[in-house]
Amino acid sequence: MTSLPLSRRPVSAMRWPVLGGVALAVFLAGFLLPGYLEGGYLQSMLNNGLITGILALCVAFIMHQCGFVLFGIAAYYGLAAYACAILVNSFGFPAMAAAAVALLVTLAAAFLVGAIVIRVKPLAFMMICLSLAELMRHLVALPSLRRTTGGSDGLLFMPEGRVFGIDAVDLLDTGQVWPLIWTATWVIAGLFLIVASSHFGVRLRAIKENEERMRFSGFDTYWPRVFAFAGVGLAAGVAGVIQALATGFASPEMFSIITSTNALLAAITGGVSSVVGPVMGGVIYTWAISEFGALGYSQLFTGIAVILVMLFIPKGILHPLRLLGRKGGRA
């Protein structure tokens, strides 16, 4: 991933091949990582960090492009994970088919929810999205659905078949699932970057900036945002499916407010105006929670860290680096 803002490209055309080359090198080098880490804590932390990073990317994209504070990304993350697990357990789907159908279900759900929440005011949008995720968390934990969803214990499942050439069972290994997570992160970041730079992306930002003027310029201001919302839901679903396949488990906690809050804070920590920031935010945030948790002060230290970031680098940790890079480029 390159350090490109979602909305515009400050680099000259001459620098694109260099940036592209660096991005390709980093992407390819990422596949070598499991060989060095040999599983264990760091690999697991990186896997979780990138999953949080994907969710943070979703939150950042919808915030930057549409101005929505999405406080319920967990709904689509959890829904995709449960759909995948249920399709495997209850219907005998192979892993790849279960993943594909789960993503279609998630896309449809995000589209329907988007069609409703796009119309409401920002506070209502935030609360409805949050409530939906909480509603789902309680729904899957209902004792009457225990045979299908596993109730409050969550749903264990054993995927079969192959996923992009990898045996589904092998995905339970933190090192083996890494290429899938790594590639998914790049693909989602790349797609978000392309969409943000496209005519559609400019249209979304214009609607965010001045919806009334857009309507008076003859634009439909509703459907583009519904499509953006559905796309973000789908991307969160990808994270959910991968997490489910990586653990063989779907848990009610995937829908929890903590999942949504982590994604939002990771996006803010990294900065919402680029695709690199939220991913970095996801990794750093996951690492910080883990480290602070080991000291027994997870909530306290994480809270302090987020407040410091908000106060001193409100545009995210990548912003000072980008400024330094520009100064260096001018020097």
Partner: protein, 232 residues
């Protein structure tokens, strides 16, 4: 081009406009709407462009009843507006926003609009960083895209100096003539209106007081009593 018949717009029990009938918008002309504060000028404009639904009465555009049409439909049919408070896209560059709207409305000659509104030098500037006068011109330029037949401007001189307002009106007259469009302008600056309009309509307390040439309006005793006063 626009025929308003018995238009009434009410906010609850309060009638902002009462039973207004007037013809507006002849090609190549500048038609101004004036009146004291609270006369209903902006509401009148909002009703024409579809932002406010009439409580009673009808609005015809090119002999078609458009009272129920959406804002987008009216825009695509050639009815454009600018706003009392500059309404542009502050986070986009001037070129980005003009380009976006031009692509959507199939504008064949964006360059001509850029030149007419004197924006070529500031195209790559983020709109929020542009001077207020430039932002006003961007606002008008956004309205001009897509070859509109009629351009409705709500106080285009708001926040501008007398000289800038006069300049803007000169631009408008030039545009109306060159592009053969009708310009309908709500404006407070009476001197600019009388100097540069072809037709003037006066509203007072939500009612239609008079329509005529600037000379006729200046001489109208009702208008003098209600709005212009002895200074006119």
């Amino acid at each position: 081009m626009i025929r308003v018949e018995n238009l009434t717009v009410a906010y609850g029990a309060f009638k902002a406009l009462t039973d207004i009938s007037v013809d507006l918008g002849r090609r190549g002309q500048v038609h101004s709407i004036i009146g004291p504060n609270g006369a209903g000028k902006s509401t009148f404009m909002d009703a024409i462009v579809g932002k406010r639904r009439p409580s009673a009465g009808r609005i015809f555009y090119k002999d078609r009843d458009i009272s129920g049409d959406s804002i987008q439909r009216r825009r695509k049919d050639g009815m454009a507006r600018s706003f009392q408070k500059t309404s542009i896209f502050p986070g986009l560059t001037i070129l980005e926003q003009l380009d976006l709207v031009a692509a959507h409305l199939n504008e064949p000659d964006l360059g001509a609009i850029i030149d007419t509104m004197d924006l070529r030098e500031v195209l790559h500037l983020e709109a929020a960083r542009a001077a207020y006068g430039v932002q006003r011109r961007v606002d008008v330029a956004l309205g001009l895209i897509g070859m509109p037949d009629i351009l409705l401007l709500d106080e285009p001189g708001a926040g501008l100096s007398a000289e800038e307002t006069a300049n803007l009106f000169r631009h408008l007259r030039k545009l109306a003539a060159e592009r053969d469009i009708a310009a309908v302008v709500v404006e407070h600056d009476v001197e600019a209106v009388f100097a540069l309009s072809d037709v003037v309509t006066v509203l007072d307390l939500g009612r239609h007081l008079a329509t005529g040439t600037p000379a006729e309006i200046r001489a109208n005793p009702q208008v003098v009593a209600a709005y212009l006063g002895t200074a006119a």
